[in-house]
């Protein structure tokens, strides 16, 4: 589905990504893990065209996205929820959602009803300003907004960061549900190991800008965790 091949990124001679290749197969939830500063977010940004790559390609199905602008990639089917969520704080929840609908040109009501069904709390909050929502509500809004662009791949950067445990469970359940519907695959950057073990199908681990381990989530053993995730 989504294929990154040999992506390298450097900034002023400093190596950020070293030959990163990864794949998000159809109907799967892939976790990209690693400590701080190992290149996870830069990997997502290079998928979205927001980081200048020195080499490598990004493909969605057969389509090569490598030379596309970020907005073109989004329209091609990449839904990106950045770290920190980046909702519009001065727009209402409804307006935040409308932005996606407008961008994508969708007129029908179906998709909106569906995301409100996935995240019922948003339905109660439609007229509130995005900025006054709790972190967990903002995260749900950001995911809902990304879903309204009708993505083939949903890309999430640390959706559990700073969010209370019951909302984390809810987000995890929702991601699994979305994946199981079979239309959307998910690439999840996450440092919360137990969350990944709960929702993921496959994992990749990065260290020093490179992929150092990968496999089905069941193969993510203590040895790998100790070597690349804990200190």
């Amino acid at each position: 589905m989504l294929t990154l091949s040999n992506i390298s990124v450097s900034y002023d001679g400093s190596l950020i990504l070293r030959d990163v290749s990864l794949e998000v197969p159809a109907n799967s939830l892939v976790c990209l893990m690693g400590r701080n500063g190992v290149g996870k977010t830069t990997t997502l940004k290079s998928i979205m065209g927001m980081a200048k790559t020195d080499a490598g390609s990004v493909k969605l199905g057969d389509a090569d996205l490598s030379s596309m602008r970020p907005d073109e990639r989004a329209r091609s089917g990449l839904g990106y929820v950045p770290q920190g969520r980046d909702i519009f704080p001065h727009l209402t929840v409804w307006e935040n959602l409308k932005v996606s609908l407008v961008v994508h040109g969708a007129k029908q009501k179906g998709p909106l009803e569906r995301v409100l069904e996935l995240f019922p709390v948003l339905k109660e909050m439609l007229q509130r300003k995005g900025g006054v929502l709790s972190g967990g509500q903002q995260q749900q809004l950001a995911i809902a907004r990304a879903l309204l662009t009708d993505p083939k791949i949903l890309i999430l950067d640390e959706p559990t960061e700073g969010i209370q445990p019951n909302i984390i469970d809810l987000i995890g359940d929702t991601l699994v549900k979305i994946k199981k519907e079979g239309k959307i695959s998910i690439l999840l950057v996450e440092q919360y190991l137990d969350f990944c073990l709960g929702v993921g199908d496959r994992f990749y681990i990065m260290d020093r800008g490179a992929i150092v381990a990968q496999g089905p989530i069941a193969e993510l053993n203590d040895e790998i965790v100790k070597k690349h995730l804990t200190v």
Binding site: T160, D207, R208, V231
Partner: protein, 256 residues
Amino acid sequence: MIAATQPRQFILMLEKVNKTFEGFKAISNLTFYMDTGELRTIIGPNGAGKSTMMDIITGRTKPDSGKVEFGADTDLTKLNEPAINRLGIGRKFQTPSVYIDHTVFENIWLSLQGRRGVWSSLFSRVTPERRDRIYEILKTVALDSRADTKAGALSHGQKQWLEIGMLLAQNPKLLLVDEPAAGMTDEETHKTGELLLSLEGKHSIVVIEHDMTFVRQIARKVTVLHQGTVLCEGTVDQVQDDERVKEVYLGRKKKS
């Protein structure tokens, strides 16, 4: 009669330091002691307070409360950034900052000149003693063969070493080094570790680092910061086996 015991000589002491930014507690009751000549590595997840801690030591940020002392009895909270730098506290930020249009030699020379006025910096000659000192520093940072190269032509790793050399030219007592190995090749990373180890004892050094391979290479005593305070301290093995550290790194939340 009570025998007079020599108190331990700390180069740096932070006691019960607090700092809040707009309601966010960046540093929380932080207590940290460091011996003279020590090479200390500080690790911790994002937002643990590592940078704020460095900002407080260098006077860039003033703490809301707590003691910050340098050497025997210098209260750093009363001094501004340049005054703290003149005391002999040098800081190296993560990205290299060198004069790219000057040679490697000139970069070190300008740093030696650092404490003089503009006039003498512009017009003073390189005395044989200074020349020797500059080459001594260049040898330390493994750039003696590149003395006449423009700094802009150096590799990323070499620029980082040059900047460490520029700090050494000011003969600091305490060196604060932020993620020196970031973006380096494996070989450069290893050489950086050897460089820092060679400075141990001659200078007191604090290294902030994420790269655990590098940490294992240089680590003596490791301090793990979390939520603005010290979570634990010890050898790499000790902190590695600490359950609290594992929890923090694996993002485990306490279920409420």
